[in-house]
Subunit: 349 residues, 2 copies
């Protein structure tokens, strides 16, 4: 019976079977099966010898059958509504890195903000009996577009809404903003403005708190603001034009932007209007979206949210949960990192 | 025995079981199982009634068990070395759209250009017995970083190297370039340059052919070129500066760029240098990478490669193959589409 688990009839398949392993090891199929399934009674040496033979032949057990026996599928599901992937793919890379050495693969399903699509993909993950699920989103104050039922496997959230009894990993937005503004202060900026995204985002409110806190701690004037608009270059460009229209004495000499797109638009407007970045105005972004930040003229100093590390930690936490270890619930806020390029006048590190 | 296939012991699970279905339908578990597995003898009406009961209860068979019976896992694997996802995520969206109505989910595994990672992920897909595989790449003249063994399921390639005996879908780069240059000609441009990526890319050579063909067909002068560099804004910016340095009579009045990043850099250089886009120089890009193309000042007219449609066609072809239908091998080149914005002077459509 055990041996059947290792073979599926009717599929074109030139793989090594349990029979080949048994023959090569000089044991019965039942014994080979028991050795590989870690069941039955035999000496440690016999079990190890059969496993060595299996490994040398490149024997690969049928995963579905192995799952039926072991209750594990050696797969982690990653569900996301970030179809653009800007936030989720770095998370997925970190997750894979944490899991691949344990022989666990990450299967990603991305779907639009649509309850029907979300339900089909969730169901598919459940049907495949993934060992654990990562829910990854586009913002820390929203979950998936569906209510999750009570699930038969552990769940970890990244960059997504997470209640106190759940386990989640998010960037520390307030601390990231503090770091950004303190860098502007270290570059001798004294009038530091904040231009950012929609205040409906929790991340926007946390970053604004960090800006205010850093400015006040340094005893600098708190300028009006933050100026809030959409997450676009176009909004950044318009904000830059408003800066240009201000009397020079009132103009900020440093701007902390809520994302890299806003920073890019703002810098372009200042440059077109004849101001020099960083000499006249220093600018810091947020995201470290490299393709954009590196292409900015001058290259953009910005805050990296450590998405890869968020994924890595989510992955190792999920492995702990799958192994039955206790993990304290709650949200972990991971430190952000300043990436110094040329838009603030500091020497790139 | 059949009923066992629908349950896995030992998992925390509040799901509807085959027993619930049998009870609600007033039949034995064996009959319910036969009805749902499409086996055994019973009237069409009885079979349908049991299925309706199962559907109304939200009964979900254990997918791994169903796969062991039906030899299908209702999953398509998408393997890609495009960890940035710029090309692959739109393909994945099209693929999902083609499959989701058939109850087939797409599981994506992305890995770096590393043979070891590729092998682990491929193995994982094989172990899960996906019904078919899509290999998606970053360029049409490279495959995955490993040799694929003979696989027990159909394979379709998208945006990836594809031999004559394989099945692949790629954008029609030459035709896309023709469309771009013909648009510049329709906008009364007479001196049309081509600034593009590295000539080691087949796509670069095909697009250059399209540029040359369109220019010559219109009886216009074939300017020196194409100018080839890397796929970056920085290269586009330098090319724009070279244009500015030319005597006005020799300067191109239209530029077809090999991607949107080059176009963006080139436009920025021209603008900073005092030339007007599109009045003095019209520019067309390639990719329709919207976040960049829309943010360009002026918004960029460009060629859309139809990545979503490539994914959709790959998905429906894969379904045909899984169903055992014959599909002619070879590469399909799908038409590209002009997206008119403001960088050429034509009215946006």
């Amino acid at each position: 019976m055990d041996s059947d688990l290792y073979e599926m009839p009717g599929m074109e398949n030139a793989r090594v079977t349990i029979k080949d392993v048994a023959r090569a090891a000089g044991v019965s199929i039942a014994t080979a099966s028991k050795a590989l399934n870690d069941r039955g009674r035999m000496t440690v040496e016999t079990r190890q010898r059969i496993r060595d033979v299996a490994a040398s032949l490149g024997f690969m057990p049928n995963a579905m059958a192995r799952a039926l026996v072991s209750q594990r599928s050696f797969t982690i599901g990653l569900l996301t509504n970030d179809t653009y992937g800007r936030f989720t793919l770095p998370v997925a890379a970190g997750l894979s890195a944490a899991l691949i050495d344990c022989g666990v693969s990450v299967f990603l399903c991305a779907f639009e903000d649509d309850a029907g699509q979300a339900a089909i993909n969730l169901r598919s993950m459940l049907e495949k009996r993934v060992d654990g699920l990562v829910i990854a989103g586009k913002r820390i104050d929203r979950g998936l577009p569906i209510e999750l039922p009570r699930l038969p496997m552990p769940v970890v959230r990244v960059n997504s809404l997470c209640s106190d009894d759940q386990i989640g990993f998010v960037p520390d937005d307030r601390e990231g903003a503090l770091t950004a503004v303190n860098h502007l202060i270290a570059c001798r900026r004294r009038r530091i403005a904040h231009v950012t995204g929609p205040t409906s985002f929790l991340a926007v409110r946390l970053r604004a708190e960090g800006w205010e806190q850093a400015v006040q701690a340094a005893g600098l004037p708190l300028l009006d603001g933050p100026q809030s608009g959409d997450w676009s270059e176009a909004f950044g460009f318009r904000s830059g034009q408003q800066l240009l229209a201000m009397p020079p004495a009132e103009r900020p000499d440093g701007v902390f932007c809520g994302n890299d797109q806003i920073a890019r638009g703002l810098i372009d407007a200042l440059t077109v209007g004849g101001l020099r970045v960083p000499d006249d105005v220093s600018v810091v972004g947020f995201d470290n979206w490299e393709v954009l930040a590196k292409a900015t003229r001058p290259p953009l100093t910005t805050i990296d949210m450590g998405l890869n590390e968020l994924g890595r930690q989510a992955g190792s936490t999920l492995l702990d949960l799958v192994a039955g270890k206790h993990v304290e619930p709650g949200v972990r806020r991971l430190a952000c990192r300043l990436v110094v390029r040329s838009s603030c006048g500091a020497q790139p590190l």
